[in-house]
């Protein structure tokens, strides 16, 4: 088959225009389902940001005085290593503490400006083997040379953290389900559109068209529909991000940390575009399959 790019391009555009009902149905299905997916991913990014510092399941944190010596830190580290009660722990250097601080107060630049990196204490975040052991560990390290204070998550906070980690998992599950659903709905719509044009496909075959000759314009149509729909979804996700950001900025307390950046929206948007295109093309190919054996 001589690959006639101009024929395929022309054929695709003409067909999209003439089958306008189908084209719009396809685009809108892609737009709606990918918007749902993108929206949920966006929310889960928000939860991620908001709960980033709890990610490792920290239950208590051993803060050093800013002037603690390396030796003092190493001693504590060794003891943490040897303790049978500790599940895992992680060292937060001054620099890292600053990064976290910046991220946490991203929306209050004046605060970030004001902070002197040297006043931020290094610390160990410690996860006990069992939540019950938290207090035991805290007692063990309180008052050690160089240690400023040991903060433990109170029971209720711990439970809330637990809840938040659940919510994160939940969002993850929901976005998985939505992604699958989007796939299904888009493929379904495109298959239906293909089904409505099965006669056309059969005639093409009878006139001597190869499968690829028929398939390529259909797949390009799917690509255009998928991309156009995903573009709309992208736009909607972006708008959602702006709205949510706005809400977050105007909210108070803990919620400040549930920020989302434009970068998040763009990242998700790009994924949505790729998914839209791929599903559009695959949907067309799948939809065509059964009508091609004439």
């Amino acid at each position: 088959m001589a690959f006639k790019l101009d024929y395929f391009a022309r054929e695709t555009m003409v067909s999209l225009r003439r089958n306008l009902v189908m084209t719009l149905a396809g685009i809108l299905t892609v737009a709606v389902s990918l918007f749902l997916f993108g929206g949920v991913v966006l929310l889960s990014r928000m939860v991620d940001h908001g709960t980033a510092r709890w990610k490792e399941g920290v239950e208590l944190e051993v803060f050093f005085v800013p002037t603690a010596t390396q030796q003092q830190i190493d001693d504590v580290q060794q003891e943490l290593k040897d303790s049978p009660n500790v599940k895992k722990f992680r060292f937060i250097s001054k620099k890292e503490a600053l990064d976290l601080f910046k991220r946490f107060f991203a929306d209050q630049p004046e605060l970030v400006e004001a902070v002197d990196p040297d006043t931020l204490p290094p610390s160990f975040r410690v996860v006990p083997k069992d939540p019950e052991l938290t207090e035991t560990i805290a007692v063990q390290f309180r008052g050690r040379p160089g240690v400023d204070e040991v903060l433990t998550a109170q029971e209720q906070v711990r439970r809330m953290l637990h809840a938040i980690s659940w919510i994160r998992r939940l969002f993850f599950a929901i976005s998985g389900v939505l992604l699958l659903s989007s796939f299904f709905l888009i493929v379904n719509t495109i298959r239906l559109a293909t089904y409505a044009r099965r006669r056309e496909i059969q005639i093409m075959k009878l006139v001597g068209a190869t499968n690829w000759f028929i398939r390529i314009p259909f797949m390009l149509e799917g690509l255009v529909q998928g991309a156009a729909g995903a573009g709309l979804a992208f736009g909607a996700v972006y708008v959602l991000q702006q709205i949510l950001s706005d809400l977050v900025v105007r909210s108070e307390g803990v919620f400040r940390s549930f920020f989302i950046t434009t970068g998040d929206a763009v990242g998700i948007g790009l994924w949505v575009l790729v998914i839209g295109g791929v599903v559009g093309v695959a949907g067309s190919a799948i939809g065509l399959r059964r009508f091609l054996d004439v």
Partner: protein, 228 residues
Amino acid sequence: MITLEHVTKTYKSDVVALRDVSIEIKKGEFVFLVGPSGSGKSTFLRLLLREDLPDTGRILVAGRDVARLSTWKVPYLRRNMGTVFQDFKLLPGKTVYENVAFALEVIGRPRHVIESQVPQILELVGLAEKSQRFDYELSGGEQQRVSIARAFVNRPLILLADEPTGNLDPATAEGIMRLLDRINRTGTTVVMATHDEGIVNTMRRRVVELDRGLVVRDQARGVYGLPA
């Protein structure tokens, strides 16, 4: 060019459309396929085009066993055969020009060839002015002529025509038959199913008559009805 050996075709197990048909058509022949409604003429043509497979028997077209052809080769077989379908089978939502051009696009003809040949053939079938019309904007006879133009345009080795004059007035039909005759004289094998007594009796070519799937007559320079 075309050989059928003991071909039987049954639809849905109980409808026998062709019964043990054996026939040979040589290169350059012009064959009329006649017979009452439902006698198997379209089925005969459909099998040659591999639109369907025979139950038993062998079909050779241009030296190839049609039934045994692997699927991906079928399009190449079909490109050697132009077909005028009884129900026209125009591509829906395409213009007259695009319908005819499609047969050339399919075989990868360059654009300039398409742009010169399509108007030419549309002129021949009397549709030059209607090239930008859509399929649903045509009268019955006009659709039939588009179908004919599409079958001719890539100068196939074999031309299968199923009732190509059924929707045409006698004058237009005569013009089409002259065209078919001219094409046949350039070496193209023509198989034409028809009910038009006048045409068959005027042309005096080979006539194959089917009746309930059986070949009941095969006559060189024949007429439509049994010579009474």
